[in-house]
Each structure stands twice: as structure tokens, then as C-alpha cells.
Symmetry: C2
Subunit: 212 residues, 2 copies
């Protein structure tokens, strides 16, 4: 079975903070996510700086594009990103235009569960989705459950490479045992830890224990 990648979500308040965290964990992670909040604050320069720091990693620009797919795709690519996110509420032409410029991941927020639309994404060459617990919903008490694992399995069955995010801690990985998750995305669990490197190592070890 393919071993899931580990992605760090750098939803930091400044590029400097993001660089500081990345510096501690870089060799342990596979995908560097320039977070939506960070891009909102510092613009695509944040992507440029993280790209410069991690030339050999996959860099994701988490712009959650809802419109103007070509423009967003080109801008993110020019800034050095390999992947870019679209929000599930974007139209198929938006996603498809973006996908012509850069590898697109669709983030699954409210209203995502529409098989016909998802099939259209696949038909337009979009093969990555991000299964989510929203940060705010999570703060409101939502927890990872068997239902989430079922949803992820069904998405993989449909043909998607599925990344999993939202309150992902090392302890929840075992819930997905036997499921070929594409990437686990951890933000606060690593960024917010006293020892970010130790937690990144825990993720990596747990991924290897379960999947390798």
C-alpha cells in the first residue's frame, strides 16, 4: 500500500512564523502548505519564500479559489506552487481552468456531497480532494469518526486521491488503517506544539508503522 504523505499546514500569522516552523520540521514532511490565512495576510510572497526554503518539497498554495481559475492557477504557479486548492463551491469551468495551469485539490466544505458534480470534477481531470473538518466546526465540538472514514473510503472508491485535514493528530491516524489516504494534513498539532519537530516525528513514525 502507498504510504500517505505528511503535509504541514502553515496557517501562520506571518511568513516569518511559517519559515520558523518549517525550518524545524522540513526534512520530516512531504508537502508544505502555504495557508489561506498566511496568503491573505502576506500575499503570494509567502508562497515564494516557502518555495525558496523547500526547493525539493511539494508546495501547496491554499488559496481556496472560487472563481477566475486561470488567473489564480497562473499566479500560484508563478509564485512557485506545485498544487493549489479550489473550494467545492467553485464552478466546474473555474476548477477546470485552474487545473490547466496547476495541479488542483478541491476542498470539501458545506454542500460537497453531490456525486454528479464530483464525477464532473474527475471528468475534467481533477483527481485530488481534501476531506475536511472545518476549523470552526471542530472548535464547536466535532470529532473524527467512523463516518468520516467511510466518506474518505467512498471518495477513494470514486477515483480521488484524498487528503485528510482538520484537527488531525497522531492518535487519529489509526482510524484510517487500511485506507490509502493520499496525505495527512497537520497544522496546529505541529505548529502549536512546544516541540514541533517531536510531533512531526510522531506523525511520520505513526504513518510508517501503519502503512509502510
Amino acid at each position: 500500500m502507498v504510504v500517505p504523505k505528511l503535509q504541514i499546514a502553515l496557517d501562520s500569522d506571518s511568513t516569518a512564523e511559517a519559515i520558523s516552523v518549517l525550518n524545524k520540521v522540513k526534512d520530516l514532511i512531504d508537502v508544505v502548505e502555504t495557508g489561506t490565512i498566511l496568503i491573505c495576510r502576506d500575499g503570494l510572497n509567502a508562497v515564494r519564500d516557502l518555495r525558496a526554503m523547500a526547493p525539493d518539497k511539494i508546495v501547496l498554495a491554499d488559496v481556496k479559489c472560487a472563481d477566475a481559475g486561470t488567473k489564480f492557477g497562473k499566479s500560484c504557479k508563478d509564485a512557485g506552487a506545485d498544487w493549489m486548492t479550489c473550494i467545492n463551491a467553485a464552478t466546474v469551468p473555474t476548477m477546470s481552468n485552474a487545473q490547466k495551469e496547476i495541479e488542483v485539490q478541491v476542498e470539501l466544505y458545506e454542500g460537497w456531497d453531490d456525486k454528479d458534480r464530483m464525477q464532473e470534477w474527475l471528468d475534467h481531470g481533477i483527481h485530488q480532494v481534501v476531506y475536511h473538518q472545518s476549523r470552526d466546526a471542530k472548535f464547536a465540538g466535532q470529532k473524527w469518526s467512523e463516518k468520516d472514514v467511510e466518506n474518505v473510503k467512498n471518495l477513494i472508491q470514486m477515483g480521488f486521491k484524498v487528503s485528510v485535514t482538520g484537527g488531525v493528530h497522531p492518535e487519529i491516524l489509526k482510524l484510517f488503517k487500511g485506507v490509502p489516504v493520499y496525505t495527512f494534513i497537520a497544522g496546529r498539532a505541529i505548529r502549536g506544539a512546544e516541540d514541533p519537530r517531536a510531533v512531526a516525528k510522531q506523525f511520520k513514525d505513526e504513518i510508517n508503522r501503519i502503512w509502510a
Copy 2:
């Protein structure tokens, strides 16, 4: 009947470009939109600069927030925005957290047409929505129609202040005659014109002719 506001969508490639356009039309418009693409490129400094240019106008940060409502709301407010957008795919806690910080507009993209969820928005104090034609869908040939006018009327009926955007030109305003649209949002029609000021004036005159 209340006269609709005129909003300029500054989806420019740089803050300098946005400033240049705004400089030409400022006295004719009511709402200054810092576009998603512009914020993506230059970060919230774009909002700060446009706020500084237009201290007496409503400034909107079109961040299309999908998550982390409190953080986005605070960041946009700190940058000087009066309003901020959320995407319809955001959860109610996200929108509601943002609304506690700043006036929220929900942008209606795919999957928006769910009356129960919209009622929840109203119940959480969210009273503004943006009725949309996606830029990419529009490029694919979509046009404003009676169906759109009906949708806008129904949203107003539900209790929303409705802004209208996506390929809005002076000629389409008369379609909405008799409908208390909150704001008409024009981007390319003004920004892309040889004489942006003349087109902004056409919008303003047409709005006054129909509603004042």
C-alpha cells in the same frame, strides 16, 4: 425605493493598478472592493492602501473566507475593511464567528440554493448575500436572465440585502427595475474600459434613472 449602491470590484493584478483605477472613479462609487485576486497577490496591505485612499467609502475585503472566521474577520477589520466576504460553502460557525468581528457578505456560488442553510445565516445575523455569475461560467457564455432576477427577488423576500455581480454592465440594470437591489458590483466593465470614469458615470446615471 432605496437607491442601489455602486461597488467597484478592484480585481487588479497589483495594488498600484487598483489605486490608479480608484483614483479615476472614487467620487462616483459607494463601495470599494479589494478583489480576491488582488488580496491573494499583495495580501491585506492592498486593503490598507485602498482604505487610506477612500476613508469615507465602504471598503470590502473580498477574501471569500471558508474557514477560521474569527481570524479572517479580525484580520480584515484590522486592515481597515468594513465588510468581508464568506463563501457559501463555509459552515455556519465560520460565518457566524466572522460576523461577530465584521459585516459579512455571503457569496453565492455552486450549491447555494439551500433555503434551510440560508435561513440559518439569517438566524445568525448574516443579512448580506452576493448573487453571482461566476467569471468563468460567464466566459463560458452564461448571460443575465429573468431567472436571475427571480432568484434575486426571492433572496430579498427571505430578508437578505442582495448585491449583484458577474458581468454587470450598465445595460443589464434595467432588468432589475422595481427590485430593491442593495448593490451593483462592476469590475471589468469599469476597470477594463478605455474611460473608466465615463462607464462609472453611466452606471450611476442608470441607477439614478431607474431607482431614484
